[in-house]
């Protein structure tokens, strides 16, 4: 069999899995889970920056994915859809964590750690910046963490958040502006 023929078979298998998943087939769902678990986990890890939380949210994401199987459109692909659900699961977690004022030490920089980049930026300023960032509204924080910290393409961020690229830029701008105001209130002039 030629390579192209093999590819066709693989494509057909993939489409069959997607169609079966749409019907609620658990075996097809497991196949998709095995294919996309790492990418979903990695995406969530970039947002929440904590491996155990990323694991929990990966499970939550695939649970939501299965519940929404009937709304899945195979023609639009699984990866982007899964990423969007993962992003919203992470956003919900950020909102809940904000309500509980939860702040894990892993989210913050270690004050004793050597400075990365500009050595003139002290550990104290980095820590205050991290804390100020945690105080931002979650929808601004998630846009900034993906677009600025993780430097993901704005198109991917927009797709994951279900908004336009212009809206991503606006959210990043607002996040940076609020962050600067917060730091200025603490006597730090960035």
């Amino acid at each position: 069999m030629s390579g192209a023929g093999q590819l066709d078979v693989d494509d057909r298998d993939g489409l069959n899995h997607l169609l079966a998943f749409r019907q609620g087939d658990v075996d097809a769902f497991e196949t998709l889970f095995r294919q996309h678990q790492r990418a979903v986990y990695g995406w969530i890890l970039r947002i929440v920056r904590n491996s155990s939380t990323a694991e929990e949210l990966t499970v939550e994401t695939f649970w939501r994915i299965y519940l929404a199987h009937a709304r899945f459109e195979p023609s639009r692909g699984f990866e982007g859809w899964a990423r969007r659900i993962a992003t919203h699961a992470a956003l919900d977690w950020m909102r809940a964590a904000r309500t509980e004022n939860e702040l894990t030490s892993e989210l913050l920089t270690d004050p004793a750690a050597p400075a990365i980049g500009d050595p003139a930026v002290s550990a104290e300023i980095r820590q205050k910046t991290a804390l100020a960032f945690e105080r931002l509204p979650p929808k601004l924080r998630i846009a900034a963490v993906l677009a600025v910290i993780e430097e993901q393409p704005q198109k991917d961020v927009a797709e994951a958040l279900g908004i336009s690229v212009a809206a991503v830029k606006l959210r990043v701008f607002r996040a940076l502006r609020l962050l600067r105001k917060d730091l200025e209130r603490q006597g730090i002039t960035p």
Partner: protein
């Protein structure tokens, strides 16, 4: 805030919160755990009902929005 200010804030933010090492999309699995059993367990569990105070909070918000419609944009901003 001009472009220079934005660039300065971006650099400061990247120093305060460095990006996650490596490329999580590349197949590196930090978790090292098979999460499929946890997904199955979650699927088998009864769907959780929101507690009564969530409904009370929702009713309160709807009532407040009806009484003070000008507060809706402020509420949406913080969502």
């Amino acid at each position: 805030m001009n472009t220079n200010d934005q660039d300065r804030m971006k650099k400061l933010l990247q120093q305060a919160l460095p990006p996650i090492d490596g490329d999580p999309d590349s197949g590196r699995d930090d978790s090292g755990r098979d999460l499929w059993p946890a997904v199955l367990k979650r699927l088998d569990a009864r769907p959780a009902m929101p507690p009564w105070f969530d409904w009370a909070l929702l009713a309160g918000l709807v009532g407040a929005a009806a009484l003070f419609p000008t507060a809706i944009p402020v509420l949406l901003y913080y969502l």
